[in-house]
Subunit: 204 residues, 2 copies
C-alpha cells in the first residue's frame, strides 16, 4: 500500500470524528475540511467523493471492531482465559473508542450492503469462535446451549452498554457519566462473575 501523506491522515482523522458524530447522511464535507484545517477541495483531491471517504472510515472502524475476538482463540484456549481476554479487550477498546459501537451499528443498519462487501473482502469468520464454544460444551467444560446464542450473549453484554451509553447514562445513572464509566471499567471483572455459572468446574 502507498504511504499516506500527512494531509491524508489528518483528513481521515477529521472525517472519522465527523462521520461518527453525525453519521454518513448528517456529516458535512465542509465541517470535515474545517476540522482538518484544509480546503474542502482537498477532500475530493484525496478521496474523490464523500461516499468514498466514508468507505475508508467505515472499513477502518470495522477492522477495529471485529478482530479483537477472533484473535483471542488462535490456540485451543482455556475457557476462562478466553472469556477474560475477550471481555477485557472489548472493554478496553470501547473505553478508548466509545464512538465505535454505535457508529458501526447505525451505519450497518442504514446500509447493510456496505457490510456485506466488507465481510467478503476481509474473510472474517466468527464461526471459528462458535466452533470453539461448541467444543468446550461437548467436553463438559461449558454448560450446554446453542453456541451461537452464547456468543451472541457475550457480545451483547460487552457491546450494548457502550452502544447505549448516552441513553443508559441518563436513564440509569442520572446523567452522571463518570459514575457509569466506573461501572463499565469494573465490568471486566463483574462480567466474568456474571458468566461464571456457565463454566462447569471439575471437582478436584
Amino acid at each position: 500500500m502507498v504511504l499516506k501523506s500527512d494531509t491524508e491522515k489528518i483528513i481521515l482523522e477529521a472525517a472519522r470524528e465527523v462521520f461518527s458524530e453525525k453519521g454518513l447522511a448528517g456529516a458535512r464535507m465542509q465541517e470535515i475540511a474545517d476540522r482538518a484545517n484544509i480546503n474542502k477541495a482537498m477532500l475530493h483531491y484525496y478521496f474523490r467523493s464523500k461516499e468514498k471517504l466514508f468507505d475508508e472510515i467505515f472499513k477502518a472502524a470495522f477492522a477495529e471492531f471485529w478482530p479483537e475476538v477472533q484473535y483471542s482463540l488462535l490456540a485451543s484456549l482455556d475457557i476462562e482465559i478466553f472469556l477474560e481476554r475477550v471481555l477485557s479487550s472489548y472493554i478496553d477498546l470501547f473505553m478508548n473508542k466509545p464512538y465505535l459501537p454505535i457508529f458501526i451499528l447505525s451505519e450497518v443498519n442504514r446500509d447493510p450492503d456496505r457490510l456485506e462487501k466488507l465481510i467478503k473482502e476481509s474473510g472474517v469468520n466468527p464461526i471459528a469462535i462458535v466452533n470453539y464454544l461448541n467444543k468446550q460444551m461437548e467436553q463438559g467444560i461449558l454448560k450446554k446451549m446453542n453456541p451461537k446464542e452464547l456468543l451472541l450473549n457475550i457480545i451483547s453484554l460487552s457491546i450494548f452498554p457502550f452502544a447505549g451509553r448516552p441513553l443508559i447514562s441518563r436513564m440509569l445513572f442520572d446523567g452522571d457519566d463518570d459514575d457509569f464509566k466506573n461501572v463499565l471499567q469494573s465490568r471486566k471483572q463483574t462480567l466474568i462473575d456474571f458468566l461464571q455459572p456457565l463454566i462447569i468446574k471439575n471437582k478436584a
Copy 2:
C-alpha cells in the same frame, strides 16, 4: 388532546417509516410526502418543520420503548415472573417493531439533549426497577451484585440482538435472517435459562 385527522395519521406513519430507515439527517421531506401520497406542503401545514415532525416520531418511539419494563412491576413481583414478563414483552415488542432499538439508540447518540427533555417530561423512572432488584437480593432470592448492573445486563441481552440484527444476521447466521429470527423468538425461554443461575432456590 385534539383528535388526529386521517391525513395527520398517514403522515405520522410515513414519517415513522422514513425516519427510522434513514434517521433524522438522512430522511427527506419529499420522501415522507411521497410515501404518504400527499403534497409536501401538507407536512408543514400539520407539523411546521422537519424537526417538529421528527420530535413527534421520536417521542412516540421512546414511549413504546420504555414503559414495557416499568409496568412489569407494579406489585412486588416474584422474580421469575418479573423476568418472564420483561423478556417476553421486550421480545414481542421488537419482533413487531424491529426498527425501534436502533432508531432510539442512533438518535439519542446523535442528539442526547432530545432525550434529556423527554425524560423530564415523561417522569419515567428506572430506579424503581433497580430498587426492586435490590430488595430481591437482600431477601436472598437473587444472587447479590450491583442491581444497576444486573438491570443493564438484562436490557443488554434483550435489546442488543435486535439493535445489531443486520450485523449479527450476516456475521453469525450467514445472512439467513429467518434462521436468526427463530433464535430471537426462542430467546424468551433460552434467556430465562441463561439467567436462571442468578435465582437462588430455597430448598423446600
